[in-house]
Amino acid sequence: MANQIELRLTGSGGQGLILGGIILAEAALLDGKTAIQSQSYGPEARGGASKAEVIISETEIDYPKVDSADLLLALTQVACDKYADSVKEDGILLVDSTVVLPEGIKAGKIVSVPILHTASDVVGKTMVANIIAIGAIQQLLGSVTKESLESAVLSRVPKGTEDLNRKALAEGYKLVEKF
C-alpha cells in the first residue's frame, strides 16, 4: 500500500522499543490516521534481539504484521545482523553508530548516527535512547507530526521527566537533520 508506512524497531530487551512503537502508533492516531503496533514475545525479549513493529496508514490496515520495512531501526549489532535484510530496497536503515554494518545491505538509504551516545552523554540518561530514536524516525519519514509525537511521548512518560524527554526528542530530530 502506497499510503502505508511499515516500521520495525529492533535492539535488545530493555531499550524501550515496544514503548517507542506504542508512542509512534499513538501519535499517528492523534494525527487522525490508523495504526497497529505489535511485537515478538518469547526468549527474544530477554536480552537477545527484540523487536517492535508499527504500521501507520491513511486507511484501514488489514494484515497487522510487517513484512519488509520502510524503515528499520537497529540499536544493537545482534539486532542489525538479524534484521538488516528485512528492510525494503528503497527503505531506510537507521542504525546506532556503534553498529558495524553487515555486508550486502540492500536498503536504499543508510543512516548511521550516535543514538546511544547522545542518550548517555548529551541528554544524560541511557533510557531515553528510544525517545531519541523515534524523534529521528519522525524527522526522516514525517509519518507523524512533531506536535502529535510530543504529546504522545508526554502522555506516556513518568511525571517529572517531561523536559528530559522533550530534550531527547529534539536531539533525535537534530541527529538526522542532514540525511
Binding site: 490508523t34 505489535s38 514475545y41
Partner: protein, 379 residues
C-alpha cells in the same frame, strides 16, 4: 484521538473493557500466555467497579470458581490459552448441563501441550465444540480486531445470560496482543442482557422449570433466599438427580434446542464481494485480516474473489455457507491449524463446490501472499 474515548489498545485489554461494560463483576482464573493481560487488567479494574478478582491455584479451579461466582449471581469470566482450555473442559461440561452462564476466553496459541507458548494458532476450534464429553450446546465467537474483541465480549456475556450456558470467546494471539485503534462506545449505546430471575417470594420456585414463553429456567442466586440444588447429574425441574430416561430425554433435548431453535439470534457473520464471487475465502479471527488483504489484491487484478467471515463460529453459519457453496466455484478456507473449520465447510457443502485449505502449524501467521498464491492455484 482528539476525543478521549479513542485509544490505542491491545485485544486482551479490550476484552476486559468489554467484559466490564457488559457487567462482569467476577473474574477467576490462572494466568497463562498469551492471555495474561486479561487477568492483569481484570485484577486492576474489577475492584474499581465493585467487582472481585481471584487468582486460583490452577485453571481447573479458575473455571470452577467462575461457575461459583455466577451461581452467586455475578456475571463471571475466566480467560486462558490451550493448556488451560484443556484443563477447564470437565467444568465446562458441568456449566453446560447445570445451565450456568459463564464466559470463557481462549487466546489461542500453538499446541498441542505447552507447544509454542508465545506463538499464534487457531488450533482449538474443534476443541471448543467437542472438548467436553457428552452432547452439549456450544456458542463460540471469534473476533478479528481490537474493537470487535470489545463488542463480542459484551455479546458473549449477553448470550451466556440469555441462554444460561458457557460461551466461548475464541481469540488468537494475533488479535489478543496487537494494539489498534478503538473507540469505546458510550455505556448508553451498549445493549446488555441480564439473566432471568424468579419472582421474589415465589414459594413454588423450581430451579429448572421453564416458564411459559421463556427459553430457559429463571435463575436464583445463592443468597437470594431460595433453596435449590445444582448438579452435574441429569436432573428434573427440582434440580435433584434423576435416573429416568424420560427426564434425561426432556432435559437433554431442551438444552440442545435452546441454541438450535435460536440460531438466527446467535449466528452472525460478515461477507464482502460475495455477490459475483467465483472464489470465496472463508476465514475468521486474526487470519481473516490476511484473507481480506488477499481478496483486495485479487479484486484489484479483476479476479472475482469474495470473502465470508464467520463471527459466530459455533454454531457455524450453516445456512449461508450452504448457499454460498452452491454459488461459488470454490471455497478456500484459511486458518492457523492443520484443518479444522474446513471440515465443517466440507460437511455443509456436501460436494457442491471445491473446498481448498490454507493452513499453518508452525506458529507463524498466514500471510496475505500465501492465501493469494492459493487463489492463483485454484483459478
Amino acid at each position: 484521538m482528539k476525543k478521549n474515548n479513542i485509544k490505542l489498545m491491545q485485544g486482551n485489554e479490550a476484552c476486559v473493557e468489554g467484559a466490564i461494560a457488559a457487567g462482569m463483576k467476577f473474574y477467576a482464573g490462572y494466568p497463562i500466555t498469551p492471555s495474561t493481560e486479561i487477568a492483569e487488567v481484570s485484577a486492576q479494574k474489577l475492584p474499581r467497579v465493585g467487582g472481585k478478582f481471584i487468582q486460583m491455584e490452577d485453571e481447573i479451579a479458575g473455571m470452577a470458581t467462575a461457575i461459583g461466582g455466577s451461581l452467586a449471581g455475578l456475571k463471571s469470566m475466566t480467560a486462558t490459552s490451550g493448556p488451560g482450555f484443556s484443563l477447564k473442559q470437565e467444568n465446562i461440561g458441568y456449566a453446560a448441563l447445570a445451565e450456568i452462564p459463564v464466559v470463557i476466553v481462549n487466546v489461542q496459541r500453538s499446541g498441542p501441550s505447552t507447544g509454542l507458548p508465545t506463538a499464534p494458532s487457531q488450533g482449538d476450534m474443534m476443541q471448543a465444540k467437542w472438548g467436553t464429553h457428552g452432547d452439549h450446546p456450544v456458542i463460540a465467537l471469534c473476533p478479528s480486531s481490537v474493537k470487535e474483541t470489545f463488542d463480542l465480549t459484551v455479546r458473549c456475556f449477553n448470550l451466556a445470560e440469555k441462554y444460561r450456558m458457557p460461551v466461548f470467546l475464541m481469540l488468537d494471539e494475533v488479535v489478543g496482543h496487537m494494539r489498534e485503534k478503538i473507540e469505546i462506545p458510550d455505556a448508553s449505546e451498549i445493549e446488555i442482557y441480564d439473566r432471568l430471575k424468579p419472582t421474589p417470594g415465589d414459594e413454588n420456585y423450581l430451579p429448572y422449570k421453564v416458564e411459559e414463553g421463556q427459553i430457559v429456567p429463571a435463575m436464583a442466586a445463592y443468597g437470594d433466599g431460595y433453596r435449590f440444588h445444582v448438579t452435574g447429574l441429569i436432573h428434573d425441574e427440582s434440580g435433584f438427580p434423576s435416573n429416568s430416561t424420560e427426564v434425561a430425554q426432556t432435559l437433554m433435548t431442551r438444552i440442545m434446542k435452546k441454541v438450535e431453535d435460536n440460531i438466527n439470534d446467535i449466528v452472525t457473520y460478515e461477507e464482502s464481494n460475495t455477490d459475483d464471487a467465483e472464489i470465496i475465502l472463508l476465514s475468521y479471527g486474526g487470519t481473516a485480516r490476511s484473507a481480506k488483504s488477499a481478496m483486495k489484491k485479487a479484486r484489484e487484478m479483476g479476479l472475482k474473489v469474495g470473502m465470508f467471515r464467520p463471527i459466530t463460529v459455533w454454531p457455524f453459519p450453516e445456512e449461508r455457507v450452504k448457499e454460498l457453496a452452491k454459488q461459488a466455484k470454490s471455497i478456500i478456507v484459511a486458518e492457523m491449524n492443520y484443518g479444522q473449520m474446513v471440515l465443517e465447510v466440507e460437511r455443509i457443502a456436501k460436494g457442491t463446490t471445491d473446498i481448498y485449505h490454507v493452513g499453518k502449524i508452525n506458529g507463524e501467521v498466514i500471510s496475505p501472499d500465501e492465501i493469494f498464491s492459493k487463489i492463483k492455484e485454484v483459478l
